[in-house]
């Protein structure tokens, strides 16, 4: 069971676009208006305001094996649409409507585009299951909670005859859904009630313990850099580490987010992250450096 859970989590980490989602959500803070001594951060999302989000990420992973550097690049372009749920206050459904993915390794370059009808490489079959997945988003005054619906991640595959291995993979995937839900559900920041002037700083520790002992630690520091008439520029930095039975990666995240003052929603942002450490691979310690660069733009 221990191995099973560890494998499951490793699979999730392979599809690290969810980490990207977490990073975005971490900076989803806002303001509902200026006070004399600063602004009070709050969400104020009217119907139709939360509608569209485009994420563009680039990740570079460099390993050193036997003195040789092995570089791998991954790029994602994710497009989400939000729909308000009629009967629930502050409840939305986020739906992944399109996905572009590209990976470049010394072996080859592979790409997937959900909008293209051309056949994709069989290695990228997983990404075909992602467009259409949904997550529930609930917005309160000072929190935006993103919850993956375990029944829709990933989208059920087309009915076909299943091998025993496929069935085992589906069981893995079910646990994987719960992991994602757990992480997304805990990665959001509750921001302070007090007025925040330019230069104000606050911190939010995030500690996520998964059932099999893997811990994600992240203490984010937020800094009000500029307060403009319609926007607020927020600086973000964090020292985070990933601990599991197989890896210890520590690093830093930093970035800048431009918020819409009226709604508290992010208009655009850029976050860079660098992690370094060792990953254990079947008894072999592999030094790893991971650089991530993420840009996002929202349309309301």
């Amino acid at each position: 069971m221990k191995l099973h859970l560890r494998q499951t989590f490793n699979r999730w980490r392979r599809h690290r676009l969810w980490l990207v989602v977490c990073l975005v959500v971490v900076v989803l803070v806002g303001t509902a208006g200026a006070e004399a001594d600063g602004v009070i951060l709050a969400y104020n999302v009217e119907q139709g305001m939360l509608s569209h989000l485009v994420l563009r990420t680039k990740e570079e992973v460099v390993q050193e094996v036997n003195g040789q550097e092995v570089k791998r690049e991954e790029e994602f372009l994710l497009e989400y649409e939000f729909a308000k749920q009629e009967d629930a206050e502050g409840a939305y459904v986020a739906r992944l409507v399109s996905l572009q993915y590209r990976e470049a390794t010394p072996f080859q370059v592979l790409a997937y585009d959900s909008a293209a009808e051309a056949d994709h490489a069989p290695e990228l079959g997983f990404y075909k299951t992602l467009p259409g997945i949904t997550a529930e988003v609930s917005v309160s005054r000072n929190a935006l909670i993103f919850t993956c619906d375990s029944s829709t991640f990933p989208k059920d595959e087309e009915a076909r005859s299943w091998s025993l291995r496929d069935i085992l993979r589906l069981i893995d995937r079910d646990v994987q859904k719960q992991n994602v839900a757990l992480i997304c559900g805990n990665a959001f920041i509750n921001y302070p009630d007090r007025p925040l002037p330019v230069g104000a700083v606050w911190q939010q520790p995030v500690r996520i313990v998964l059932r099999h002992g893997t811990v994600y630690n992240d203490t984010g520091t937020y800094y009000i850099d500029e307060i403009e008439e319609e926007t607020i520029v927020l600086k973000y930095s964090s020292r985070a580490n990933f601990i599991s039975l197989q890896s210890l990666l520590a690093g830093e995240l930093s970035g800048e987010v431009v918020l819409d003052r009226a709604s508290g929603l992010p208009l655009e942002g850029k976050i860079d992250a660098v992690f370094a450490g060792e990953v254990e691979r079947l008894g072999l310690a592999v030094p790893v450096t991971m650089k991530m660069s993420m840009e996002f733009a929202a349309r309301f």
Binding site: N66, R72, T105, V279
Partner: protein, 348 residues
């Protein structure tokens, strides 16, 4: 016109045209100077040989893709498999007869298999966080391993010390089983260990002897347009494949020799199933292209495609089988070139 006038005009014309003629003559000579060395170079034959020096390194990423497509009664089944290997060969000694001793190490692995009955098995070591399926754990242990080999002047691996690497992989495999507690019996029996070790050695030996690089190095010096023939025989469970390759030196540019390969394939020992009335090998072809450094014979890149297509006639109708193997290998060193002692700088 008086004769003197004509003579004068001739002198004027000659005087007038002389600079033009001189220019033409000069340009003609210059062209000869420029063209002649190229012509001489193109005519010069070259003896391609693998000739590393101590300290030379060769990094490469090799990717083999297998596609099998079986069409029966309009239904199509596909089997897709990819095996990738990233390796480094570093020469530590060169003997007087050109025999090189080097350390061959593995730093990348990729394995993908999918099919209706196989499910999907996928591992790519370039993603350090990717789950390693149990089915590929033993081959995945090649990552980080190294073995001492000896090569001849045609890049054939003539010696390979496999026992030590097989023993190390076996140790890692055993400790993994004990560590995970995956099996009821914590440690494999000595018989199991011997069997697995023998299997590892067999697979590694196959890897070493199946590359057939000697076809890149003809016996005699060759010029652009020259061809040479190589016969390769592969045997697997009684099925013998004969590959007759004709290699042609098609280009020499910037110190790189480009060799084009065309081949024919014959199969022997193919056991036709009872349910099959007749079998026809409709297509059997091989194409390849190889780029080799002229100065030391290092292969910089190679691509090849083997394609076989059969029609099996049965009582229930024809079954079409398409079989394709694509091989792509490229140097993963700096600037996409093979590294040699001459090109390596500090820190490389």
């Amino acid at each position: 016109m008086p004769k003197a006038a004509l003579h004068f005009r001739g002198v004027i014309d000659l005087f007038h045209w002389r600079p033009v003629m001189m220019k033409v003559l000069f340009l003609g000579l210059l062209s000869l100077v420029l063209v002649l060395p190229g012509a001489v170079f193109a005519e010069e034959a070259i003896l391609l040989r693998f000739a590393p020096e101590v300290g030379d390194e060769y990094d490469a990423a090799l990717l083999t893709t297998l596609r099998i497509e079986i069409t029966e009664e309009g239904k199509k089944e596909e089997i897709y498999s990819t095996i990738g290997l990233g390796y480094n060969l570093r020469f530590t000694a060169i003997e007087a007869d050109g025999i090189g001793t080097g350390v061959l190490s593995c730093h990348m692995l990729k394995m993908f298999m999918s099919g209706q009955f196989l499910g999907t098995i996928y591992y790519d070591s370039t993603d350090p966080f990717m789950y390693i399926p149990r089915e590929v754990q033993v081959p995945a242990m090649l990552l980080g391993e190294e073995v001492t080999i000896k090569t001849d002047s045609k890049l054939n691996i003539i010696e390979c010390e496999l026992e030590a690497v097989a023993e190390r992989i076996l140790q890692r495999w055993s400790s993994l089983r004990e560590h995970t507690g995956e099996e009821e019996t914590a440690a494999p029996s000595s018989a199991d260990r011997a069997m697995v070790k023998a299997q590892i050695e067999k697979v590694l030996a196959e890897l070493c002897k199946n590359t057939n690089p000697d076809r890149y190095y003809p016996e005699r010096p060759v010029k652009v347009g020259d061809s040479w023939a190589t016969n390769i025989q592969k045997e697997n469970n009684g099925l013998v494949m004969q590959l007759a390759i004709v290699s042609t030196l098609v280009e020499r540019t910037d110190g790189i020799a480009v060799i084009k390969e065309e081949g024919s394939v014959t199969l022997d020992g193919f056991v036709v199933p009872e349910a099959v009335d007749s079998m026809e090998l409709e297509t059997a072809e091989y194409y390849g292209i190889v780029r080799i450094r002229e100065d030391n014979g290092f292969p910089v890149a190679q691509e090849s495609k083997l394609r076989l297509a059969w029609i099996f006639q049965t009582n229930d109708g024809p079954i079409y089988v398409n079989f394709e193997v694509d091989v792509a290998e490229k140097s993963s060193g700096p600037e996409g070139e093979t590294r040699s002692k001459a090109t390596m700088g500090p820190g490389n």
